[in-house]
Subunit: 262 residues, 6 copies
C-alpha cells in the first residue's frame, strides 16, 4: 500500500494523520488530452501525479485523488479542443470541482493544501475555485489560523540550469511544449512503457499567431497534435527534470508551510 | 499497455478505433469517500473501474478516465458527508462534469457511450448531465443516427441467484451496503492488497430512519463509517459477483448497442 | 378557512403561530406529469398535499404552498419526459426552488421544516437544495439551536403489512408504481371526482431495462403512460394507505421534532 | 371536473386538445407573500389564478398549474422580503422556473402560451425566462410557425374608466397597491371567505422614497404590511374589476393569437 | 484631473479619501443601445454618467467607472433587442456584475454606495445583485454599522413641475420615453456635439400593446427605433431637467446618508 | 464625432456600416485596478482603449464600448485583489459579459470581432466567453461563412527590438509589469495629464514566489502596489511602444480578416 496516496488509505488512518500539525494534502491536476502519436492521452494526469508523489515523498505530504479532466485545450498551448482524444471541461465545471474539493478539505480541517497543475490551460480556473472556496469558508486574510492553499504549475519550477541541459540548442518556450521534449523526457523516465518513440514524428515547432482565433483554424495545428517534436528527449533528461523539480517544489512547501508529519 | 484503457492509448490510435462501427466508450463513475477502517477511500472509483474494464474486455469497448469524485455522501446510503475522508462535489459540479464529458465525446463522433456508476448518490446528477448534453447537441429523440447514452449502477445487475449465494442469511438491502459484504467481497477478489479485514469491525446493520435529516445527526452513523459489517465477505463471493455482473452488463450492451470492434 | 394551510392564513396570524415552540412547517412537493388516462396530471401535487394536510392535522403542523412542478420524469419511474402532459423543471431550478424556500423559512425563524415528496425523481435535488440552504445559513451541525429539516417520500412509510393488504398478489416494486394501484387507490379515497376508472387500461407491468437510455426509446413506455395497471385499486385501499402513512409520518415527526403548538 | 384547469385533466385528453389549431395555455404567476392582516398569504396566486380561469372561460384556453412562489418582495411595491409570511425565490430560480416551463410547453408543441402575472416584482424575471426558452428552442423571430409567448400583468388592463369607479377619490398609483383596494375588492368578489375586513387596519398610504435602500429600513413599511389601506374595497368593485380585466385580456388574446378550440 | 471621477484618481489618494466618514461612491449604470438616428448608442451611459457627476459635485461623492452595458432592451420601453446597435447582457450577467462590484466596494470598507440607473430594463437585476452582495457580506438588516446601498433611476426624480415645463402638451409616459424629448433635451444640454437633430424623424408615439410578446413582432417598433419623437427637445429643457434632478438626488443622498467629505 | 468609436455613433449609421464586407469591431478590455501612486485606477481600460482606437484608425475597424471591469487582480501579476482601488469581477461574470457581448454582435451579423485585452488576468475568461458564444451560435468550425473572433493581449505584440529600446538594461518580464515602465511610458505618451511621476516610488522589482498562495500574504506586495518601478519610463518610449504595437496588431488583423471598409 502506497503510503503517500490517499486513495489507497482507509478513512480512519487518514483521520489520525489529519490530527498531526503540518498535515499537507497535494491534489494533482491533469487533463485528458491528445499528446501526439507517441504519448498517452492521460499524460498530464500521469505527470502531475508523479510530481505530486515525488514531492510528497520528500515532505511527508499525502497525495489526493487527481483532478483528471482539465479545461479546454487551446491551440497555442495544446493543439486545440477539436482534436480527437481531447475531452474537456468547461470553465464553470473546472471552477466548480476546484471549489468543491478545496471546500471539502477545509471543512475537514486540512489547513495546508497544494494544487499541483500539469495542464497549462487549467491555471486561472483553479485560482478562481480556490478563491471561491476560501471566501465561502470565511477565510479572506492570511492571519494566524487561516488555511494556506498553494497553486503551482510544475514547469514553473524548472531552473535555467536544467533548461540549459535539457535543451542544449536553446529553449523554445513553454507555450509550444505540448508533447515535446519536456513531457516526453519525463514520461521516458517515469513510465517508459507508455511511450512509443517509434511513432514520434519530427517536425519543426508550430508557428502560431500571437492571437487566439475562434473557431479554431484546424490546419494551424500540426497533424501530429504536437506543437514541437520530442526530438532529443531521453530518460536521463527526464530524471534530471523530475529530481530537480520535485526537490524545488518540496523546498518551497517546507519553507512556506513547515514540515509535514512523517 | 492496456488495450481497453483510453488513458494509456495515444490519440492517433484512438482516432482510428473511433472510425469503426460500434465503437463504445464506458466512463466509470466513482467517489472519494470513507469506506470504513478496512477499505480504501477510493473504493467506489476502484470498483467501478474494474467493472468497466471487465465489461470492456467482454465487448470490445474502451474505458475512459474515471469520474473519480462523486456527489455528497448521504447518511442513509453512505454514512454522511461529515465524515473525514469524504471529499464531495456539489450537484451543479457533478452535473457539469457529466455534461462536459458527454458533450466532448458526442462532438468527437462517439455514438455509444455508457456511464457505469459505482456510488449510489451520483445517479440523478449523472442523468441530468447526460440529458443536458444531449439537448445541447440537438439529440432529443432516439431516431436513426442519434447517439445512445446508457446510464447504470452496477449493483442493479446482481441477480437474485447471486444475492442468495452472497447473502445466505438474507439480503439486507442496497441502502445499507456501504463498506459491507458486497463491496468488501469485490475488493477481496479484485484488489486484496487494499483490504485489511483485521481492521473490519463487526456491528449490526445501521437502523436509519425513513427520512433524511439535515444537518445530519452524526451519532446515527456507526463509528466505523460502515452501514453494515463486511462479515462473511470472501474473495470467492467477490469473483462470483464480478463475473456475473460484468457478464450481465456486457449482454445488455451488446443487445442494446450491437458489438464493438475488436 | 382551513386551519392547517398557510396559503389561506394571513401573515399576522402566521407570525404569532411562529413564535410558539415546536412550530413545524410541511412543504408538499409534487410534479405536473402525465398519469395515464384515468388520473389527472397534477396527481403528485394532489397526493403530497393530502398527505401533508393529513400529517398536519395529526401533529399541529402547518402546510406551506406546494412545490407543484417537479424534476424530469424518467422512463423507469414515470414513463418519461417526452410524454404530453409532463411539464418538468431541470435540476438547477429544482435545487434553486428548494434552496430559496428553505432559506426563506430559516430566515423567518422556522426551525422545524419538513419536505414531503410525492414524485420519485425529485428526491436528490430536494436534498441538495436543503443542504445548500443550511450551509448558506451557517448550519452545518445538528447541535442545540440548529434547525432541523426533514426530507421524506411518503411511500417509504408504507408498511409491509399495508403492502400485503393493498397488493394481495405480491408487490411489484415502487419503480413501476406510476399511475398504478397505489396512486389510483389514494386518489379514489381522497379525490374520487378526479379519477375516471372507465378510462383505465389494463396491461401488464412495463418491463424496463436496468439501465436508463437517453434519448429515450419512446416505445418502451406503454401507450397509457402508466408503468403498471391500476387494476384492483379501491377507495378502501386508498383509505388504508392514507391513514397508515399519515399516522406513521406523524409519529416520526413527533419523535424527531417534538409536538407542534395546537 | 373543471374544463379549463389542466391540473385536473388527464394527459390523454390534454394530448387530443393540444392537436387543435389555436390551443392556448395560460400560466398564472403569483407569489407567497404577506398581504396584511385581512388577506391570505397566497393572494397573488389566488388572484392570478382567477384571472387566468376567467380569461380561459372567455377564450377556450386552458390554465396550467400556477407558478405559486415569486420573486423577492420589494419595499416600494410589497412591503419587503423581511416580513414574516413572505417566502421568496431568488432571481436565478425565478428565471429557471420560467425557462423550464416555457421550454416544456414549446417542446410539446404548444405555440400559444400566456404568462399572466399577479406579483409586481416578477415581471422582468419572467421576461428573461421566456427569452431564454425561446432562444434555446431556436425561435428568435416571429416569422410564420414560430410560437407566440405573451407576458402580461393583469393590472395593466384596468381601464381609466374602471379606475375612476374603483377609486372615486383618485387613484394613488400601482406601486402602493399591495393589500389595498384593488386586491381586497377582487378577493371580496372571488373568495370572500378568505377576507377578514374586521382585521383590516386603516392607515394613510405609505410614503416611500424614490430609491430602494438595502438592507431595508424595516420601519418604513407600515406595521400592517400593507402599503395602502383597503378602505372602500367592496365585492361590487371586485366584480367590476374582474369582469373588465378578464374581458380586456380575452380580447387581446383573441386578436393576437386567434380563437382557441372550444 | 477630475476630482469626482474615480477612474482618474490613483489608488493611494482613493485609499485616503475612503478613510473619511461619509465617503460615498456612485456607480452610474447605462446600456449600449440604439437610440434612433439622432442620438448616439451610448446615450444611457453618457446620461447616467453626467447625472452621477452632477450629484457628486453637489455632495462630495465620487463616481465609479460606469456599468456601460445593460439588460436586454424590451420593445415596450426601448424598441427591442433585435435592433442593430443594441448590445445586451443577459440577466445572470447583469446580476453578476452588480453583485461583484457591490461586493468589492463593501470589502474595501465603502459603506455608502449608490447605483444610479439610466436604462429602464436594468432595475430589477441591479436590485437582485445588490441583495445578493449584501447577503454574501452578512448584511441583512439596516442596524448600526451596516452599509447602505441605494438604487435609483434618475427619471423617478423628475418633479411634476419639471414635467409640466418640459412637456407643455402633456407627458406621454416614461415607458415610451426612449430617444424622445427627455433624453434628447438632456443630451442637447450635456453633449450637444453628439446630437444630430437633423436626423431626428418626427412620428407619433408608438402604440404598443399592454403585453410583451416574444419573439418580438419587429414591425411594432417604429423604424426610427424611437418610441416617441424628440420634437420639442431643447438644450434649455435639458438644463432644467439636469439641474432639478441632480439637486433632488443630492438632497436625498444627504438626508439618507449624511454629508460626504469635501 | 469620433469616427471610430461606436459609442458616439448612432444606430442607423452603424447599421449601414455593418452591411459592408469586412466590417470589423474591436472590443477593448480593461480593468479597474490600483496602479500605484502615479497612475490612475482605470489605466488598463485607458490603455486598451487607446490601442483599440490606434488599430482602428489604421484598419477602418470600429471600437466598441470597453469592458471596463476585469477579473480579480492576482498577486503575481497585479499586486492582488485585496488592495484598495481594485474592483473585480468573478470568473462567472467575466465569462458572462464576454459571452453576452460576443453573442450580441454575432446575432447582428458582425463576422469579424476582436477582443483586445489590457489586463493580464482576464485572458482565459475571455477565451471561455468567446467559445461559449460561438457554440451557442452553432459556429464550431472555421469553414466559409463562419465568423472569426480574435483574442489578443496587446503586450504580446511588443517586438524584441522594441523591448531592447524600452528596457536598455534588460527586460524584467511581463509578470511584474504592473504600473511599471511599459504602462507608465504608454500613459505618458497617451494621457500625460493622468500621470504624476512625482508620486512614483522607486523600489526594486517584487520577488514573488513561483506559486500563488491564497489567502494572499499581503506583505509580499510592495506598499506602492506596483510590482516594479516606472523608473526610466518616458513619453518617447510610450510613443514607440504605441506605434509599433498598433502597427503590428493592424497588420495581423488585415492579414487574418482582410481590410475593413473605409
Amino acid at each position: 500500500m502506497s503510503t503517500v496516496d490517499l486513495r489507497y488509505l482507509d478513512a480512519h488512518q487518514y483521520g489520525q494523520w489529519l490530527q498531526q500539525p503540518g498535515a499537507t494534502v497535494i491534489v494533482p491536476v491533469g487533463a485528458f488530452e491528445q499528446h501526439g502519436p507517441h504519448l498517452p492521452m492521460a499524460s498530464d494526469e500521469i505527470l502531475s501525479g508523479h510530481m505530486a508523489r515525488g514531492v510528497a515523498e520528500r515532505t511527508g505530504a499525502k497525495v489526493a485523488a487527481p483532478m483528471n479532466y482539465g479545461y479546454k485545450s487551446q491551440q497555442k498551448s495544446g493543439g486545440g479542443d477539436h482534436l480527437p482524444g481531447t475531452i474537456s471541461l468547461d470553465a464553470a465545471t473546472m471552477i466548480g470541482i476546484t471549489r468543491s474539493i478545496v471546500s471539502s478539505y477545509l471543512r475537514q480541517g486540512v489547513t495546508r493544501l497544494v494544487l499541483l497543475n500539469g495542464h497549462y490551460e487549467n491555471y486561472q480556473f483553479l485560482y478562481e475555485g480556490i478563491d471561491l472556496a476560501l471566501r465561502e469558508g470565511g477565510f479572506t486574510t492570511s492571519k494566524a489560523g487561516a488555511p494556506a492553499v498553494l497553486l503551482l504549475s510544475y514547469w514553473d519550477y524548472v531552473t535555467e540550469q536544467t533548461l540549459a541541459e535539457v535543451y542544449p540548442d536553446g529553449f523554445p518556450g513553454w507555450d509550444i511544449e505540448h508533447g515535446g521534449v519536456l513531457e516526453t523526457a519525463l514520461m521516458l523516465h517515469l513510465q517508459p512503457e507508455l511511450v512509443d518513440l517509434d511513432r514520434a514524428v519530427d517536425h519543426p515547432a508550430a508557428e502560431l499567431p500571437r492571437f487566439d482565433r475562434l473557431p479554431v483554424v484546424a490546419e494551424r495545428t500540426p497533424v501530429t497534435g504536437c506543437l514541437s517534436a520530442p526530438t532529443g528527449a531521453t530518460a536521463d533528461k527526464g530524471r534530471l527534470l523530475y529530481e530537480q523539480v520535485t526537490m524545488s517544489i518540496a523546498a518551497d512547501l517546507e519553507e512556506e508551510l513547515g514540515s509535514s508529519p512523517a
